[in-house]
């Protein structure tokens, strides 16, 4: 496996991107402060990335930020959807992250038992 193999991926992906021509529909932001990392934020972030990759969700972006100021609920992640309030999830595990992708992002039903805050975008 070589870096040049990326060229094939690029050629294929470019065609798809031209067809879509849109921005990301959903953004997932995982808090990656020291306490978040200690509580398992990297594994949660990885689970989100895994699900996006497996489901081939090209309009979903997973990104990370520093401390979210919600240390007692770490790991924490926010789901930003265009035209909707921001949903903040807390006390996450990789399993819950996978559920959020399936239930909230794909099917539109937030996983309410792990929602710790809903705020205006």
């Amino acid at each position: 496996m070589k870096l040049e193999d990326l060229r094939k991926i690029r050629e294929k992906a470019e065609k798809e991107l031209k067809l879509r021509e849109g921005k990301a529909r959903v953004k997932i932001v995982v808090g990656m402060g020291t306490s978040g990392i200690a509580a398992g934020a990297r594994e949660v972030l990885k689970a989100f990335i895994d699900e996006i990759e497996k489901r081939n969700l090209q309009d979903v972006i997973v990104t990370q930020s520093g401390e979210k100021g919600l240390s007692s609920h770490e790991p924490v992640a926010e789901v930003w959807e265009e035209g909707k309030p921001i949903v903040v999830y807390g006390n996450l595990t990789p399993e819950i992250a996978r559920r959020i992708v399936a239930e909230h992002i794909v099917n539109g039903n937030p996983v309410t038992e792990y929602v710790i805050e809903v705020k205006e975008a």
Binding site: L6, I9, A13, E14, K46, I49, N56, T63
Partner: protein, 183 residues
């Protein structure tokens, strides 16, 4: 507190990102014959004054006065010093910061490197606008991943495209496994 050295790397890199870095270089050097492990993280962020460098290493000062930098640096420093190693920070305001930690590899209290693949992948994919250079050396072998090269190959296709993620995960995994970096 952080179970793996690769989590400490993640944490220190987060400080670089908070400091506005656009390029972060992570170097891991394992030398079995010398029984050493060295980790270096260098960024082009805003840097720190001498006074700030002192403060970020002080666990009692940081959480109060410098909210953006938590306990991560004091913890990392403590491990290095405890594991017969050394720790230093070199920083130039406006230029960037270099953090260097050395450890005795066989020290009983040295945390494992852990899942370095996930640290690299989540940083590269989760911070697509930042350039990262990961340099891993073990005795005579090396693995270097420079996201500037990756982005050049990809042109307009983002590094967080599902197919690219799939490729990168396998690529990093294969190269790290081939090197058998300590765990």
């Amino acid at each position: 507190m952080l179970a793996e050295l690769s989590m400490h790397i993640m944490d220190i890199v987060q400080n670089s990102l908070s400091a506005g870095a656009s390029l972060v270089r992570v170097k891991i050097e394992q030398n079995d014959s010398l029984d050493t492990l060295a980790i270096e993280i260098e960024d082009n962020g805003r840097g720190m004054t001498e006074e700030e460098v002192k403060r970020v290493q002080d666990p009692f000062f940081t959480t109060k006065s410098y909210k953006k930098v938590g306990l991560g640096i004091p913890l990392f420093k403590q491990i290095a010093e405890h594991c017969d190693g050394s720790f230093e920070i070199k920083s130039v305001p406006g230029k960037g910061t270099l953090i260097r930690a050395r450890f005795r590899k066989s020290h009983i209290d040295l945390p494992p490197i852990g899942n370095l693949k996930d640290t690299i992948l989540t940083l590269v994919v989760g911070k697509p606008d930042i350039d990262f250079v990961f340099e891993i050396y073990k005795d005579g072998e090396s693995f270097i991943l420079d996201t500037r090269e990756i982005k050049k190959e990809l042109q307009d296709v983002p590094v967080n495209h599902p197919e690219v993620i799939r490729f990168l995960e396998e690529y990093i995994d294969k190269n790290l496994k081939a090197m058998e970096v300590v765990s």
